[in-house]
Amino acid sequence: MKQPNHYAPPKWPLRLLRLFVKEEYLEEIEGDMEELFQDNLETLSYRQARRMYTWEMIRLMRPLIMKNIRITLSPNPYGMFKNYFKISFRSLMRNPLSAFINIMGLAVAIGICMLVYAFIAYDNNIDQFHTHKHSVYLTTFFADREGTLQQYGQTPGPLGQMLKEDFAQIKHVCRIEDRNLVLKYGDQVFTERVRYTDPTFLEMLTFPLKWGTSQSLADVNSVILSEEMSVKYFGATNPIGENVHIKLGNAGTKTFKVMGVAAPFPKAHAIDFDFLINFENLRLSESDGALHDWNTLVNATLVQVEDPSDLKIIQQGMDKYKVLQNKEVQKDWAISSFAFEPLATLHKNSAQIRDDISVDPPIESLVALPVIGMFMLALACFNYINIALVSTTKRLKEIGVRKVIGANRVRIMIQFLVENISVTFFALVLGFILTITVFLPWFIPVSGRELELNLIDSNFWVFLLAILFFTGIASGLYPALYISRFDAVKIFTGSVQFGKKNPLTKLFLGIQLVLSCILITGAVVYMQNTTFQTMRSWGYNQRDVLYVNIPNQSAYEHLQDKMLQNANVRSLAGSKDHLGKKISTAIIHTPANRQYEVEQLAVDAHYVNTMGLQLSDGRNFNDQSENDKHTVIVNELLVKNMELSNPIGHQFRIDSTKYQIIGVVKDFHTHSFYNPIRPTLFKLADKKDYQFLSVQVKNGSQEETYQALQTQWAALFPDSPFQGGYQEDVWGIFFSQLARMEEFTRTIACMAVLLASLGLYGLVSLNVAGRVREFSIRKVLGARLLDLSVTIARQYLVLIVSALAIGVPVSYMLIHTQLNMMFAYPMPMDFSGVSIAVLLLVCVLLGVISIQIRKVAKSNLVKGLKVE
């Protein structure tokens, strides 16, 4: 044991101690701490003792021991605060316009922050209402595709059954498979999304029911509806016991009894259903043994375990399935491992998992939302600071009086902060009303999410309180510091140099200008980009094409016959897949043993012409030739990816069949413009597999032909719903989203310009007000208006130029990056967006400055000189 005296306690806690402990206690407590430290050294290591010492020191922070804790409390704070409120209300009323501007500015910014909150809260709440969200897991697997490991949310068909049989730790298993099926009730016929699932579905995913029981799903003849579907078919009445008919593929039409109706789904959900029927029905309808084939995938397999730690064992036990899957059947889909994703985090990670059931609407565009919220709040705060400084010129005397009757600096600061927080409070209330009545109704369609401000959510109130104090203090601290600094004597003798030189206000304005520059540039570029995206070629003729979904071959033939008689029809094609509606994937094996994943469309020989795709090399299919069953037409990207110098005649394998390239088409979009073009191939489809009929019509006759198509359909197939449309509309959502996004950014930019110009207005008038006397003398001595204008404008020239010099490159970079992130084919950006922003800002600035100059020109010389 070493001599303890060699060791000293750490220094910094001692310094801290000296800072806060009352003088008279210092010696005693220091001694105690030292003694304790030496004691500790006998039992603990040096490091532990030091740690103990620090910890004890922190725990010494108690009101009784600390300095000055009672001094700031006034004997009667109530009266004082009442006075503050009264004064702040009066000063607000004295200048209603600037008060309104201030409060409105803050209210808009706070409203936007609330919107951001609602957005984030919604996102965090998706699928969080399920009781078992921590014990229910989605089974996923990792597969190596083109060198990268990708997680998939679908699972091989037989897996669910085997999991249940092999692992006692699994409490429930639930398979989910979706089909679009024709459903009939009375004379209503619609194609609906029907979910085949195990009876455990409603036990694992706790959707509450409005009518009926969840156990009824065990009966293969019963169906459970969502509330929406119940209303669609049965109105407000209770449909329990009603019969509906569903066409189940091979099994023909089967009658189901409605045995349950779900309560309306919570707004924040990603997993839902329209119709639920027992999974056994899938076996009936698809008798080809789909459930035993490792080749087929079901949409989801959920498991529920008692104890999450069992998952590891299950995961290890699943290795044998891997062998089954990889060795026996699926050579292309080499599964490298299985994994489980808890329901609680499924939606959050859904972007990484391909084809999972927790669908994520494409809203990457709104990532910037929180940033915009912060920007607006910052703008409003800077604004408030500048205007508050201006309006205080009128209150200098009040501050002087307060100081004379004994208010110290802290008091004055508290007064201004209280004032500010109450103004912010007004703004908060107004912002709340704005959010509820304007922002939310406007934003819900923009975001595609049913956002709401949840008043029961305690976090929301914490958020409001945080916003209130943050905004109140952030916007009020500087004015409070600035104003409380003045000396009472100087105020009364009139020698206060007010607002003449204040680098900080200029800095604030500079930041405001940069922020506005970014927002305006964003708006302009988005508008340009929307036009660009709308004008972008799809790579085929989408304007003159109609399509319709057909149930079978005979339907196709009937409709084809009828439509060929229509004079408006130029060309007509049948296909199994269809651009923008249905597309499959295939894996190409080259002779050199490389693999490529490609999009695949099975079509007939007329498809390429009908869709207006352009052959750049080779020839089209020939229906008559038996040989062409083993040929493909590929797009240019595929040729490029496979590095084929002479693509025509090149051969590769898909599964075990050999195909030969006979033609190359120019690249075209199979998905919306958010996604890059993928390597794609066409092959001939069997006539019995046709699911789509596409029609190219004469330009200008689209509507007429569409009507004719519908009429034909109704005449031929009264029992089946018509499912068709204009090809132009297949990405309608994408384009309407673009338009909404543009509207959103435009609105935000307008607000930003407004806020920034208000800020400048405040600053310039502050400056002019502080120099009335100077200007009056100048005028008396014969200065012309031009000279005065130059004097005023020169001050801001440097500021504006430097703010824009920073703003322009920053805006350009930011917007450029964002655009590239969102779109696979962003508009090639030029400087026009930034130039427009700069032009707009300069115009606004000139306008604001000229208003002030006019004021000076019109001002009364005598009054100006009388100012003391």
Binding site: Y25, E34, E35, D39, L60, I65
Partner: protein
């Protein structure tokens, strides 16, 4: 007990001061209480209890000798006032009275 405004922890500290007599200073009080209560206490809690009771007039204090172990700092020795004794005795009586009032049955 409201009348005397003496909390449970304060009462314990006060009793310790009374028991320790000349040795009643910060760390020693802490050590004594820790062995009796069998739990760790912080210097802060002891000190703030001492200061509070001093303000209320239960304790008086004066500086004692300095030791090397304390880095040359003096100890502050606390002593109980007669008022404190009176309050402590009152409390003991109230408690004793209440204990006697408990019927035997509930004790076993």
């Amino acid at each position: 007990m409201k009348k005397t405004k003496l909390g449970e922890f304060e009462e314990l500290v006060l009793l310790t001061v009374a028991a320790l007599q000349e040795d009643a200073y910060g760390v020693e009080i802490k050590r004594e209480l820790e062995t009796r209560l069998k739990e760790k206490l912080s210097v802060g809690s002891i000190q703030s209890a001492l200061k509070r009771m001093e303000e209320k007039g239960f304790l008086t204090s004066e500086f004692g000798e300095a030791t090397q172990k304390r880095g040359g700092k003096r100890k502050r020795i606390y002593a109980t006032t007669s008022y404190a004794h009176q309050v402590l005795a009152e409390m003991r009586d109230i408690r004793a009275g209440l204990w006697e009032a408990i019927p035997n049955v509930s004790l076993t």
